[in-house]
Amino acid sequence: MKFAAFLIVSLCGGLLLYATADLPAWGDPNSPAGTHLSPHYIEKALEETDVPNLVTAVLADYRGYDTMFETAVVFCAGLACLLLLRDYTRKKGSFYRHIPTGVVIHFKENRKNPPKSREFEHMDKEWVPYDLIMKTVCRILIPFIQLYALYVVAHGDFSPGGGFQGGVIFGSSLILLAISYNLRTVMDRIKERVLGFLCVLGVLVYTGIGVLCMIPGGNFLDYSKLAVFLPVDPGHVRALGMLGVEIGVGIAVMAVMVVIYVNIASEGRHDEGL
């Protein structure tokens, strides 16, 4: 196997190295890639879309159709994790910890309404007491991380950033919460069903804006047609369309990140897995 792998690898590598002779030098401003399409994007995008961040302009407008499916890919991954790992069988028995004393009570049969109070806390067998320093630091950090994520989404038109980046940052703040406290804390704050809806909502916002553009007779995702619905300067409509789309992307990515983490970390049981 090792020999076969080595053979395949050297064959591929050799083929690729053979072709490098024909490729333009690194950073060559006159390469075909730099002279065919990109001058149009660089010189016209600001005028046509009113968005100074060219990556955002190309991503969300010129190639917006690609990006919609990119969001759909993320959505697929979330669905796939849910479909493969989610374990709907209820475990028998549950554990409760009396917080002031630290005594753990084990109910062998499942009750319909477990007692809920400030003194008792629902927990899992693999429960570890959480670290005070980590808990405190994360509690301070998380709101700022989330605020920054919102900024990255909202300011994606003007500076590096956008829906994907912001969504990932927001999702990671929730994952941080899950790591520093425990999974159940996150799942108590955001119900699984809400996460599922958010995944859908994100992609739906994107597709919905696309379909909305078709109503006044435009093509799919042609944001300029949104001028019918938005009472703003027609030159700026495309930028607003992109912002809307980026928000959708951000929601979807955030929710999917959490879904993937939660399902893989707990093997689909949604308890403290790690």
Binding site: L15, L16, Y18, A19, A21, D22, L23, P24, S31, P32, A33, G34, T35, H36, L37, S38, H40, Y41, D61, Y62, R63, G64, Y65, D66, F69, E70, A72, V73, F75, C76, A77, L79, A80, L82, L83, L84, R86, Y88, R193, G196, F197, C199, V200, V203, L204, T207, G210, V211, M214, G218, N219, F220, L221, D222, Y223, S224
Partner: protein, 496 residues
């Protein structure tokens, strides 16, 4: 021609939107998911049909996504070939949805909504791959189909499903990445991603070694994804251990769509001049496909399970289509394109029948099939028709595409390819008559010994599974009878 209708966009958007709704409803009321999914695919099929009519009437349809002119934006460029494949994909996935409903209820009721969402996204990906006119967009949609098919395959057999799926992930990622790398090399040399735009620049770059590498990597990537013979190792396990509702649509469509992508790259992007006059590899590829046909057939003979046998038959059929496309003449290409459609329909019919058998018998190993003709006469009628079509008995559709392929092989002087086609027909005949024999005769002697000559009782599959099989079987013959029309109205005008 720029189109003013919404149908080209609707073909892709309708299943995507319904996938979202299915996923949302799966948290609220699961029973709505099935009708919603059906409605989405119905709209997609209708739109594909309207697009085909439009293309027939007015020539190639262009639809600009986001309103940007190509090559700056992404466009749908639907000619006769796309339109035909679109209709086949949409229709088959619609029929399979109906046929699989009972399966889904029985096997995965707790996650049916999510399953339908994944299924619809898979179909969306396939339709998008076929409709798009942009090389990179094709990659993104290809990844959607791949991701969803990984998930669907892993839902199957709990022992082997996840493992088969993970192996498919590794090989699928290599395939898709090779394609992406090839596109990267095309982009670095031409600066464009639009297929037509690239095609207009490439003739000046025929001597470039980077373009040669781009071509090789695109082809290897596509071949891995379609499971051409030495690269087929992922296919049999993946298709065998997948749950039937999924494998019935992945098996006939995924590989055919990849054959479509290969033909599209050959005809539209790189151009026949480059492939057949500049490069001297066509003969080698025809030999490769000859090997694929024979190897697939021989390995199918060794199987004792209809699903696995069908998977190896697909390996063999891929050889037909690749060989036909690489013969380098119009008849061979005609046969190859016709076979994309016919093979999709006939493998689908085979898997439908296998699904009905599996629904009633538990699994489809040969020893379970005793007396199946008496127990399930309608299902077995469909099975026999599918078998005849794969063997190539007229007037079923399999005969006609094979006929064109044989003629193309003779014209190109590729007698080894012709011989392989004929041997493969014989092998398929052996394969299917062996099953017919088990279904008809075995087991009856035991019944006589006990003096109960009444025979086994009828235990036919539910009507919702029989009707799709019936429709597909009618199409097997209908496509055969009308193949002349299809060739003259669609394929010949396309090839020009």
């Amino acid at each position: 021609m720029m189109t003013n209708t919404v149908y080209p966009a609707l073909v892709v958007i309708a299943p995507l939107l319904t996938a979202l709704f299915c996923s949302g409803f799966s948290w609220v009321e699961k029973r709505i998911c099935y009708p919603v999914a059906g409605a989405g695919l119905l709209v997609a099929t209708y739109s594909a049909f309207r697009v085909l009519l439009e293309v027939l009437a007015e020539g190639t349809v262009q639809y600009r996504m986001a309103g940007w002119a190509p090559p700056f934006g992404i466009e749908f460029r639907i000619d006769l070939l796309n339109a035909l494949v679109l209709l086949v994909v949409a229709a088959i996935s619609l029929v399979n949805l109906v046929a699989s409903h009972r399966f889904v209820i029985r096997d995965m009721d707790d996650r049916s909504g999510t399953f339908y969402a994944i299924y619809l996204l898979f179909v969306t990906g396939l339709l998008g791959v076929v409709a798009t006119g942009d090389l990179f967009n094709l990659y993104v949609l290809l990844e959607i189909t791949s991701l969803t098919s990984y998930a669907q395959i892993a839902m199957g057999d709990p022992d082997r499903g996840p493992l088969a799926s993970l192996n498919y992930v590794f090989i699928g990622v290599i395939g898709a990445s090779f394609y992406l790398l090839g596109v990267g090399y095309i982009y670095i040399k031409t600066g464009s991603l639009n297929m037509v735009d690239v095609a207009s620049i490439l003739p000046a770059l025929q001597d470039s070694s980077a373009i040669l590498i781009a071509f090789i990597f695109c082809m290897i990537g596509v071949w891995i994804k379609m499971a051409l013979f030495p690269l087929h190792i992922w296919l049999p396990n993946a298709y065998t251990y997948a749950p039937l509702p999924a494998s019935r649509v992945i098996a006939p469509l995924m590989t055919k769509v990849m054959v479509y992508v290969m033909i599209r790259l050959m005809l539209t992007v790189f151009g026949l001049d480059y492939i057949f006059e500049k490069l001297d590899i066509a003969k080698a590829v025809v030999w490769l496909s000859t090997a694929a046909i024979l190897a697939g057939g021989v390995m199918a003979l060794a199987q004792r399970d209809i699903k696995k046998m069908a998977a190896y038959i697909i390996v063999s059929e891929i050889g037909y289509m690749v060989g036909g496309a690489w013969l380098g003449n119009k008849i061979g290409m005609t046969g190859s394109i016709l076979h994309i459609m016919n093979d999709a329909v006939m493998t689908f019919a085979l898997f439908l029948a296998a699904g009905n058998l599996a629904f009633k018998l538990g699994d489809v190993r040969f020893k379970n099939l005793e007396n199946s003709f008496a127990k399930m006469p309608w299902t077995m009628t469909g099975f026999v028709l599918a078998g005849f079509s794969i063997i190539g008995v007229p007037p079923t559709c399999g005969f006609f595409s094979k006929w064109y392929l044989v003629l193309g092989g003779i014209e190109a002087g590729a007698y080894h390819f012709v011989a392989a086609l004929i041997i493969s027909s014989l092998i398929c005949a052996v394969l299917f008559f062996r099953i017919f024999e088990i279904g008809f005769f075995s087991g009856e002697s035991h019944g006589r010994d006990h003096g109960h000559s009444a025979g086994p009782e009828m235990a036919e599959a539910p009507v919702s599974m029989l009707i799709p099989l019936g429709i597909t079987s009618i199409f097997l013959i209908g496509l055969g009878l009308y193949s002349g029309v299809i060739v003259n109205r669609i394929i010949h005008p396309f090839l020009g």
